[in-house]
């Protein structure tokens, strides 16, 4: 059964440097790094010490508040350093990789003969639980609460992001095993969104409900799917998971190995040769960035896409959830009379002497300049044009800023994640950090309400 959903409010941001659909193997990194800060609100408790020998899939640390949630090594090697910051917070766990991976054997299971508790415990024990996120709060799912439904977006609309139709090619078996497993973890449906005209591997799978999505970004955001299909009400929980993480989970059931290999889109206008690479979680991004080649020195490297990714150094490492690495030029330069002269080389949703409306299909090379300074909220109505959820974006942002929990709840805070506010942040004339405001608001609610 499939349903059609069309997203009219939004914005397709067309950027130069889309990854060409050729796949290369990234050179093996010397070190692999796990950064616990990626697991939002998780306090890590180390399970192994520096110098320990690890197999791929061996537990490195677990959550202090819920010891069942474990985090495992993506490769085999030696735990080199546990890098700590202020108040001894663990910043990075650096693993020196072996030449070839050896895997911890988790055992091969037939998903169809397992019950929901067995599946849950297996996912927790093997470190795959970290891939499951929940709403409200956009954090790693609480294993003690059964979700009312599970949502997967297999549609790419974010600029320069990895195209699922390409990265999931040939992964039908892994995906089928994973979605079957997840269908047993909820009483509701496993909802998957696919593109209207795409040939998604999901369309041939069982145990899921496929939704055909069309229209502009953020049609591919899982938050948009949730809002249109089955919004989160107070007291309810839904889970979200990305397709490439499903592949890892499926492979776990089929082979018993935690194989952290992903197909990564390396894209962005600063790259000579943007294309797809296979790499493992935590790999050094420079291994494939230099393989592709850089057009310029002064670049921004982003774990994820340009709208909601995380800034990392050129010597940084692939994130735990990333399937895209974007490299764009830094914009740390002044522009003479940049605020009033006509603009042809930047994107805008207004027409205030900005001319991107003339060429809707032109590809732009945008840099990281904010194009203006931080101001109070002034302009109204522009967010609504790019925000398809049935929520008042400016009002909920303001409620977060003045920390009114009742109002946040009433306006729909349980339904949102920071990435839902990426487009409103992009168009914001006042250059307010919308995603950060929402993240802080969610953290506050989590702390106060839980």
């Amino acid at each position: 059964m499939s349903k059609d959903i069309k997203i009219k409010k939004g914005l397709n941001i067309r950027l130069k440097g889309e990854a060409s659909k050729t796949l290369s193997n990234a050179p093996r990194s010397k070190t692999y790094v796990i950064r616990p800060s990626e697991f939002h609100l998780i306090t890590p408790k180390m399970d192994v010490k520096e110098g320990a020998k690890l197999k791929a899939g061996d537990v490195i640390f677990y959550s202090k508040t819920n010891e069942a949630i474990k985090f495992v090594s993506p490769v085999s090697g030696t735990l080199l350093t546990i890098k700590r910051g202020a108040k001894r917070v663990i910043i990075e766990i650096i693993i020196e990789a072996d030449q070839l991976d050896t895997y911890r054997d988790n055992g091969v299971f037939s998903v169809s003969s397992m019950n929901s508790d067995e599946i849950k415990n297996h996912l927790l024990a093997t470190g795959c639980w970290a891939f499951i996120k929940q709403r409200p709060y956009d954090v790693i799912a609480n294993p003690d609460v059964k979700p009312k439904a599970i949502f997967i977006s297999a549609l790419t609309t974010a600029p320069l992001s990895a195209d699922y139709d390409f990265t999931l090619l040939g992964k039908e078996n892994e995906l089928q095993a994973a979605v079957t497993a997840f269908s047993k973890l909820t009483d509701g449906k496993v909802n998957v969104s696919v593109g209207e005209n795409s040939k998604s591997v999901f369309e041939g799978l069982n145990d899921i409900t496929v939704h055909k999505m069309s229209g502009v970004h953020p049609a591919g955001n899982v938050g948009t799917l949730i809002n249109k299909v089955d919004p989160v009400n107070k007291g309810e929980v839904v889970w979200t998971i990305t397709p490439q993480d499903l592949v890892i989970i499926g492979a776990l059931f089929l082979t018993g190995k935690f194989n952290a290999k992903r197909v990564i889109a390396l894209s962005g206008s600063s790259l000579k040769n943007p294309k797809y690479y296979t790499a493992k979680i935590g790999a050094e991004v420079s291994t494939f960035i230099y393989d592709s080649g850089l057009n310029e020195e002064n670049v921004r490297v982003i774990n994820g896409n340009v709208l909601s990714g995380e800034k990392i150094a050129l010597k940084g490492h692939l994130g735990y959830y990333s399937d895209t690495v974007t490299v764009i030029p830094e914009g740390d330069d002044y522009e003479f009379f940049g605020w009033n002269k006509p603009v042809f080389d930047k994107i805008s949703t207004s027409r205030a002497l900005t001319f991107s409306w003339l060429q809707p299909n032109k590809e732009y090379s945008l840099n990281t300049n904010t194009n203006g300074e931080y101001r109070a909220f002034v302009i109204t109505g522009s967010y609504e044009e790019v925000f398809p959820l049935d929520i008042y974006p400016m009002q909920i942002l303001k409620a977060c800023k003045y920390e009114d929990l009742d109002e946040m709840e009433a306006l729909g805070m349980y339904e949102v994640a920071p990435e839902d506010f990426a487009l409103t942040e992009f168009v914001c004339v006042s250059k307010q950090p919308h995603q950060e405001i929402i993240r802080k608001g969610l953290d506050l609610m989590y702390k106060e309400i839980g």
Binding site: L15, P231, K234, G235, V306, L307, S308, G309, E310, K311, I328, E330, G331, D332, Y334, F336, G338, W339, N340, K346, I347, S348, T349, S350, R351, A352, L353, T354, L366, T368, N369, T370, N371, G372, E373, Y374, R375, A376, F377, V378, I379, T380, G381, S382, D390, I391, Y392, M394, Q395, A410, L411, G412, E425, F426, V427, V429, S430, K431, P433, Q435
Partner: protein, 407 residues
């Protein structure tokens, strides 16, 4: 070392000092700053608040330039030195003589408005340690356009200080204010110096001066600069035809007379997506509705032609749009995003009520036959209430969804 790097090193020098906001305001006026994104979106759209405000100023410029020509034209016409021009495009209107008189009178208004207003803004920015915000760029351009031509400059300066401090800064600056600052300035002038803001002597340059000369015993003819609304309120006959009103060849506040140029400005604002078409259109609908109601009252014979409201009530409803400042208010004042309703549904209600109340005050106000600025200020106060009820609709929908589930 070029200008760019010199300014950059100056900026580093000022960093952290009290004067940093003042320097940055001048610096960012020349150069788009070198700030980059951190996390969140790594790219940003091209628009910032300066560009937005600049767009509104561009939309106001035709009104300002026309206002200068019209000031001179009305002046010479009242003195009897020139014949009435044949129309908007006639060469006898766009003359150097007219422009020079207009510039001589209007440019000081612009300079005082910006000079005083921006000084207050800079002072507050330096004291409070925040950046100088762009709100006053538009306010400063609006103010000279909505005052009578001969207003003494000291009055304007006092009003600007009042408007910026009380209308905006005490609430926290641009984006936080409840009342439209330009209209706060207008209201301050209206209630503090009523003789300068109404009557039939203030709308044409030289009329007040001429009156003073007559009072001093010189044998001159008085200049009458009665506005159309003034004439209607007195139940007098009107000396102008509709096309004069539409093109703007009439006395009035500096920038609001030419409906033609205001419509051009409105189309520009709507096209650039800076002005809210919802507010503009709903305001006009509101005004037409109230005009129709009054026409209906007259048609029903409920009031006679001796009634003091008869003149204005009897104005055909569509003419309310081309007389007075309703169009200027709808396009440039009601659309101020900070003080208007912020929800799209709310904007319809907000605009409609502005139009309705504007015409109501226009007809019933005994002292001053115009109500646009009062209506907008009133609705500024009610805009948050309107938004509250609009948003409650969304909140209720969410609660109902939960109820359906639990039942």
């Amino acid at each position: 070392m070029g200008l760019k790097s010199n300014l950059h090193s100056l900026k580093e020098k000022f960093k952290g000092t009290k004067m940093a906001p003042a320097f940055n305001a001048l610096h960012t006026f020349l150069y788009l700053p070198n700030e980059t994104t951190h996390n969140g979106t790594h790219i940003k759209a091209a628009d910032d608040l300066k560009r937005t405000m600049n767009t509104v100023i561009i939309a106001l410029l035709p009104c300002l330039i026309y206002g200068m020509f019209n000031a001179g034209y009305q002046h010479y016409l009242a003195l009897g030195e020139i014949e009435a021009t044949s129309g908007f495009f006639a060469a006898t209107f766009w003359t150097w003589d007219n422009l020079i008189v207009g510039m001589w009178q209007v440019l000081p208004l612009v300079i005082v408005s910006y000079g005083v207003g921006l000084t207050v803004e800079f002072l507050f920015a330096v004291i409070k340690g925040h950046e100088v915000e762009e709100g006053y760029l538009v306010t400063g351009m609006l103010v000279p356009l909505i005052v009578p031509i001969d207003i003494p400059l000291w009055m304007l300066a006092v009003a600007v200080i009042f408007g910026v401090v009380i209308g905006k800064e005490i609430f926290g600056g641009t984006g936080m204010n409840i009342l439209n600052p330009a209209l706060t300035i207008r209201a301050f002038l209206f209630f503090s110096y009523p003789t300068w803001m109404s009557g039939d002597k203030v709308w044409v340059h030289g009329a007040v001066e001429r009156d003073q000369m007559i009072a001093a015993g010189e044998g001159l003819d008085a200049i009458s600069g009665e506005t159309i609304l003034g004439a209607y309120a007195q139940n007098n006959s009107i000396a102008y035809d509709y096309w004069d009103m539409f093109w703007g060849l009439i006395p009035g506040s500096v920038g609001e007379t030419s409906k033609f140029l205001i419509i051009i400005g409105a189309l520009f604002l709507i096209f650039t997506k800076i002005g809210s078409w919802r507010i503009i259109i709903s305001t006009l609908i509101g005004a037409l509705t109230m005009g129709l109601i009054f026409n209906g009252v007259v048609d029903a014979g409920w009031i006679g032609d001796s009634n003091k409201f008869y003149g204005l009530m009897n104005v055909p409803f569509w003419q309310h749009l081309i007389i007075g400042s309703i169009l200027f208010g709808a396009v440039y004042m009601a659309t101020d995003p900070v003080t208007a309703s912020q929800t799209n549904k709310g904007k319809w209600i907000y605009g409609f009520l502005i139009g309705l109340i504007s015409i109501m005050i226009r007809v019933f106000n005994p002292a001053y036959p115009e109500g646009v600025f009062l209506a907008i200020l009133l609705m500024n106060v009610f805009a948050p209430t309107i938004d509250h009820y609009v948003i409650q609709g969304n909140v209720k929908r969410r609660m109902n969804r939960l109820k359906v589930k639990t039942n």
